[in-house]
Assembly symmetry: C2
Homo-oligomer: 149 residues x 2
């Protein structure tokens, strides 16, 4: 569904947002540990998110990453996905046809149109804030129980 890059981007964003809700700025080391991702790779991904103004990064001592409350409210999952994976998931044909459309439909065109539409709706309607509060409240997790300390 998502690339590894995208999975890490979403999880890192949620973690940063949840910590920002508690007024805590977090460093790459902590983020990577909390979401069970490779540190250097995650750093690269955060650079992309930062350039797309989806997270704020602050250099130097007491630096790290944070997301302002208004930003996490307005940021939808779709923006994160688009920043790292492009809009393939929103538009690509399920069977890889270059120009799959109602006029030139692949055998799964109609079936997949519905699913792709549901995915798009979900990503465009889900805010970073609601995902962060779910994590903060202990309802959801960013790692499997096995992976937790």
């Amino acid at each position: 569904m998502f690339s590894k890059t995208c999975e890490y981007a979403i999880k890192a964003s949620i973690y940063i947002a949840s910590q920002s809700l508690e007024n805590k700025r977090v460093g790459i080391k902590e983020i990577a540990h909390e979401i069970s991702s490779p540190e250097a790779f995650t750093a690269k991904i955060l650079q992309v998110l930062s350039k797309n103004h989806l997270v704020d990064s602050i250099k130097g001592p007491n630096g790290g990453f944070e997301i302002q409350p208004e930003k996490m409210r307005s940021t939808k999952l779709s923006a994160i996905v688009k920043a790292v994976d492009g809009d393939n998931i929103f538009i690509n044909c399920g069977l890889g046809l270059k120009n799959c459309s109602a006029k030139n439909p692949c055998p799964l065109h109609n079936q997949f149109a519905k699913i792709r539409n549901d995915i798009t709706k979900l990503l465009e309607s889900t805010s970073l804030e609601e995902l962060a509060t779910g994590l903060t409240s202990g309802l959801t997790f960013l790692t499997s129980v096995q992976n937790q300390a």
Copy 2:
């Protein structure tokens, strides 16, 4: 969504089935041409489908691939996907958690459960036969118009 391998597997199966409906056996060269796929790679994939008894292969002159009518009726898309991609698409967590579940849900668990369920339903309810007849009747296509001769 699907790997390239899986896209080729599905398209090749549909093409073989559609030709079998007209009592025509087809060779790799023809298949690869008709679905715009790399020939040698497609041959490898067909070996897997053949070992899984999803297509019949016949060696020698007038040989090639075919699918019996009863088989294309009973074969669901899910069987083809499982044969080449495994069951990742049916069970994997959207954010890559090893043990994402109702007890230990990732932030997108509930939202994705619905989508994954829809995908599973679609793949398990769609038969190769209906996809093949759609192609035969000219309602659907395996290549983009640009790619067609």
